[in-house]
Symmetry: C2
Subunit: 236 residues, 2 copies
């Protein structure tokens, strides 16, 4: 019945527009009563994002089970991948919703509050993990926001492609930027032992960086990246 309500809602949103569709219209088309609708969805906006509550619960559980993970930044990146997977599992629906959300300001605001809850879940986890660090809360908030922004950048590219691109590759690439900023170098979810990975580049296990004092830090970091894990190559 839940799926029937979602299908009816989207059929009407596409036919006559979101604002012009009422919950009564949706339940009439689905052939159920109003109370059934509100058993599944808190509001008309809720039916547009039917999977977020479940996904948020999955993400929270995924993080709750990771209080000992040695790489908390990689963990929140993996949590963001869970959200992406929810979208990627149903490209047609996701692309339809993207177009709908773009055209209805009320839905964009609703979506912002959903995104905010994901971001808080990531930040809360990192705050716990960084509890012993000076500025732990600050670092947690900033990194959580960066992960969400990277995820959303990749998600929107994929949605704009009409769901044609490789969503997972896109988000992996975007999250790499975050992990290279703050995570362990080369410590991605797909990476094996970081120490051995760069063996094709050099036989030496030590990287020496010589730089002028006052060099922009990002320039130095880019230089080190290529030495540490053999990636690099971004232009300035």
């Amino acid at each position: 019945m839940r799926d029937a309500l979602i299908a009816a809602a989207f059929q009407l949103f596409l036919e006559r527009g979101y604002e012009a569709t009422t919950v009564d219209d949706i339940v009439a088309l689905a052939g159920v009563g109003r109370r059934s609708f509100f058993r599944y969805f808190p509001s008309k906006e809720g039916v547009v994002f039917p999977d977020h509550e479940g996904c948020l619960a999955d993400l929270t559980a995924f993080l709750d089970g990771a209080e000992e993970d040695p790489e908390p930044v990689a963990r929140v990146c993996d949590a963001a991948r869970l959200v992406l997977r929810m979208y990627a599992e149903n490209p047609t629906f996701s692309v339809q919703r993207y177009r709908l959300t773009k055209s209805v300001p009320g839905l964009r605001t609703y979506e912002l509050s959903v995104v905010w809850r994901y971001e808080r879940a990531l930040a809360d986890y990192l705050r716990r993990r960084f509890a012993g660090r000076s500025d732990g809360d600050l670092h947690a908030d900033v990194i959580a926001a960066a992960v969400v922004a990277a995820h959303n950048n990749a998600l929107r590219s994929w949605l704009r492609s009409g769901g044609q691109d490789d969503a997972e590759a896109g988000v992996d690439h975007a999250l790499e930027f975050v992990q290279h900023s703050w995570g362990a170098a080369g410590e991605g979810p797909a990476a094996a032992s970081p120490a051995g990975d760069a063996a094709e580049a050099e036989d030496e296990d030590v990287v020496v960086v010589i730089t002028k004092r006052g060099t922009p830090l990002w320039q130095v970091v880019r230089g080190i990246e290529s030495g540490l894990d053999g990636t690099g190559g971004a232009n300035g």
Copy 2:
């Protein structure tokens, strides 16, 4: 008249609650007509955030005049400082509003959409500045989100202190984390020539970093930070 409307609105919000106050109540207390209210504010939410439109316009103008700024990351940090200053100029009002916004879900959603507009303005500027870079849009979105998160972390600390702490020092400290992640080392708004500043630490102008391949990048970066500009000292 605008100030009288704001004062009347907050008096009523505090006395009887936000939800229970209507625009009619506000204009009655201020002694003006409904049309006057809507000349100044788009909605009841609008009167809670009366300075954001002006601040957003200032911020956009500040960035539009900076297409040649050699340090775009420092520039968006300065733009965030403009927003903080708007709050810090009127601590009593800002703290009242903070408490109100925290307790009214509708206002929090409204605030999210305001914050989103600031973030888009920063990201749009960085996208223009990074247009020639590979992954320029991604970097722009992530850095803009990080700046906003750092700003909001500092702003909330200040608001929680009841407006007692030093707001500007708090935001400077928070933005330093962002600038050390991606900006030029030591290139803050208050910094002089980066190359000369570290002279008290060493006489040598070259920094040599020796590290094992596979060392987490953030660890290496922290090591370099202390060498490059004499700050550092954050614990792991």
